[in-house]
Subunit: 486 residues, 2 copies
């Protein structure tokens, strides 16, 4: 797992932090948040908060106290203990992009399929830089809607040995995912004791949790799984056009969701989520990787740390571009480096995102993994000891013009610098002889090579049988029977 031991870039001064605090406290007290679920309203009322209809107005101190009940760091177990993840502190967890309906190939776009889901899961398993596939890297349009969660969870379990994320859009789907996790991890009480699933709850911003998200939140909280509460804020649309307001809103929304988790089951792992992008105010389209988003994300990390909560940054490697071009490179880098500079604990949407999140791209998945690898190195402190000063090298070269042959270099040349897999350092002649391929073309080639090297992680036959039986039985109950490939 990657540990970010570089200094944090703290973009907000005390005055700005105080302004955000004043903002979220006032929203909590005076505007409140709507919850479309009677159990949520009852729990808040019992906790002494002001409930009127579906609206809850909060005492800010109640929200602060609730945040304190959540652990500042926790583990989520994977079926391969080597792949378990730690959320919090200096640890950074990286997830693949999630939720795209389309696959973008070059400038062409098509519906995602289960075959795409499987390939993307295989890539996730193969890379060292992505820790979790998340919930659904792409929507499989060829699988009936009712049973997608079953098919996806089964595929994530069979094709990877990593932590995955449960379906949150209804109680039934959440229960199915928990049941699959039970089968793998030795029963419900075992997973309640030590969580094995992530569940990402998107707030219906502004200031609203809908019934389906609340069913997910309550179900996973009952089971003690790790819950991320993420206000999904396109500034200008779901939040005002100012970063200060967006941060205040994000804070109160996330704290309210986390407070509900803690009322259900105190101590349940909870993550303050952020997804801050701006709206292009001429077209109404979202834009990604811009300055407001980068600063907003960096500030979010500072805010989360004040509550002692692990922080999810969104994203990731976001871009509005439809192809893997210069724009995709700089927008992805700006979003991702903000997460590193601000010390995100969970980086959602970290590989494959294109087209404002409507598309997933195989080339960009590979490209983004290279960015992650680069930033893993960049945020690992370099040595500053006596040997690193290489004084002997200067004595050794005399008046020679270069350090290629000195002992200090020969001892270190294999791993002294980060080396990209796809990016080129070839000179023009070599690059031309190789076909003058741009980065995107090379990434597509690398993707093929990687996929050819895939072997599934071992899974005990009896467990696999039980999983398949469960999925087939549930699909039949849901009246969309499926036959799973054995």
């Amino acid at each position: 797992m990657f540990l970010n031991r570089m200094p944090r870039w703290e973009v907000l001064g005390e005055e700005a932090l105080a302004t955000v605090e004043r903002g979220w406290e006032r929203l909590a007290r005076e505007i409140g948040i709507r919850f479309d679920h009677p159990r949520a309203l009852r729990l808040f009322a019992e906790a002494g908060q002001t409930v009127e209809g579906d609206r809850v107005r909060f005492d800010p101190d109640f929200l602060r106290e609730a945040a304190r009940l959540a652990p500042s760091q926790f583990e989520i177990r994977a079926r391969n203990p080597q792949r378990s993840i730690i959320v919090g502190g200096d640890h950074m967890v990286f997830a693949a992009t999630n939720g795209a309906p389309f696959v973008c190939e070059g400038s062409h776009r098509r519906d995602g399929t289960m075959a795409d889901v499987e390939k993307l899961l295989m890539l996730t398993q193969l890379t060292d830089t992505i820790d979790t596939p998340g919930r659904n890297i792409v929507e499989p349009s060829d699988v009936p809607l009712d049973v997608r969660h079953l098919v996806r969870a089964l595929a994530a379990t069979r094709l990877t040995d990593r932590v995955w994320s449960g379906e949150v859009s209804s109680e039934g789907k959440a229960q199915d995912c928990l049941r699959i996790a039970d089968i793998i991890h030795g029963g419900r009480s075992a997973i309640e004791e030590r969580p094995v699933l992530l569940a990402n709850i998107n707030v219906n911003s502004p200031l609203h949790f809908d019934v389906s998200m609340l069913e997910g939140l309550l179900t996973y909280a009952d089971a003690g799984q790790a819950i991320i509460v993420t206000p999904f804020l396109l500034m200008g649309a779901m939040a005002p056009v100012t970063v200060a307001a967006a941060l205040a809103q994000q804070t109160v929304e996330a704290l309210a969701g986390i407070a509900l988790v803690q009322l259900v089951r105190p101590g349940t792992p909870s993550v303050l989520g952020s997804f801050l992008a701006a709206t292009d105010m001429q077209s109404g389209s979202p834009s990604f990787g811009g300055p407001e988003s980068a600063i907003g994300l960096a500030a979010s990390g500072q805010i989360a740390r004040r509550f002692g909560l692990p922080w999810r940054s969104g994203g990731g490697t976001l871009t509005a571009s439809h192809v893997v071009d210069y724009q995709a490179g700089y927008e992805a880098f700006n979003t991702l480096s903000a997460a590193f500079l601000a010390g995100a604990n969970l980086c959602w949407q970290s590989a494959g995102w294109v087209a404002g999140g409507l598309g997933v791209s195989f080339e960009k998945f590979i490209a983004d993994c290279e960015l992650l690898d680069l930033l893993h190195h960049q945020f690992s402190p370099v040595e500053f000891d006596e040997a690193s000063l290489a004084f002997g090298a200067y004595e050794e070269i005399g008046d020679a013009g270069h350090f290629f042959g000195v002992t200090h270099t020969l001892e270190r040349f294999r791993d002294c610098f980060w080396r990209p897999t796809v990016a080129t350092t070839e000179n023009y002649d070599r690059w031309t002889k190789g076909g003058s391929h741009d980065y995107s073309t090379r990434a597509a080639k690398r993707c093929q090579e990687l996929l050819e090297s895939y072997t599934p992680p071992p899974l005990e036959g009896a467990v696999e049988e039980e999983l398949i039986d469960f999925v087939e039985r549930r699909a039949a109950e849901l009246r969309d029977p499926i036959q799973v490939r054995r």
Copy 2:
């Protein structure tokens, strides 16, 4: 001019800084630096430093004292006072890429020409993000070598009203550039009093200043112009493979050059330069935009500030890619954002660089200007006042789902977010209808549009005549007569 008022990202702790200090002091005392110029050696000897042959060993305190003589902030006058630049403090100055022999167009490469130089100067004049063309954005292969500096300086003067950079590779060429500056700015004593030229001196690292660079340094120092001393370090080639050693070497090389400037003329504006890239140790080719380079650059800013010296970061928007692709986007962004995070005062090579600096690309010039514009916004603090919390907007929307129509948005929507010129936020249908163009294609189109909008800045007829007469006379003296277009 852009002011970077965001907090600096300080990557080195006190211990690492002390290690670098120990390193440069030991290089200064025990290894020393070679100077291929008798005047330099004499000046150092007179100042009490140890001179043996062409090698000078330094008392570190002498170098520190010399650095103190240089101003921490200064102005360089442009012929249009609106375009004068301030170097130091929170100011950031951006220069176009410099020194490329080739022009890269798509995946094709060709020799640069004077027509390219002119177009790139026009772009520099047109953009708000680049403050200076520097010395030579591209080498004009169709102009004889002896007179290129004349033709270039004249073109920079006629096609832009910005500060430009003088030729440094011989005393004669430097004097010619000073004479051109004299003509524009009212005579030698006027420019000695208030500098009008930049001169970038590349150290022949490791630990060596050659005669041609020293002629340039001495000539511009005599004239009190602003001198940047830049160790050009490809780690693994001109410096050891460790960041600590590269920083120590960079420090002693830059301080030695600046000390020489201060011996010639105390108080002459001097800039600590850095250009840190890594070598691909398998191919021997330079690589750009990688982690070692980004961290090294960020650390360089910290070091320069300890000496109270303005700092030049190199670069810029560096990349090893031959085309304007994903690699070019992220490598450029990583180099450039390191300069912003570390508060560079001069950002050399900030627009147009491709192919490891061997090429200039018109598309990338445009693309990099967009990155600069983005980062100008990102590093301008956003407001955190009561109005920015937009409380009224929350009262106004009630249970509506978005903020598009609220007063707070309507008052701010025109300029609340940064808007790119070339990057797209179009949805897939719109983007497809527009031709499915990638970023590079759109940048080329934008370049054409910009060039068509060019008008030359006014220049007094008599001054222009005098400049042309001087250039034609000097060219004739140099036995490469030219006829300048009037």
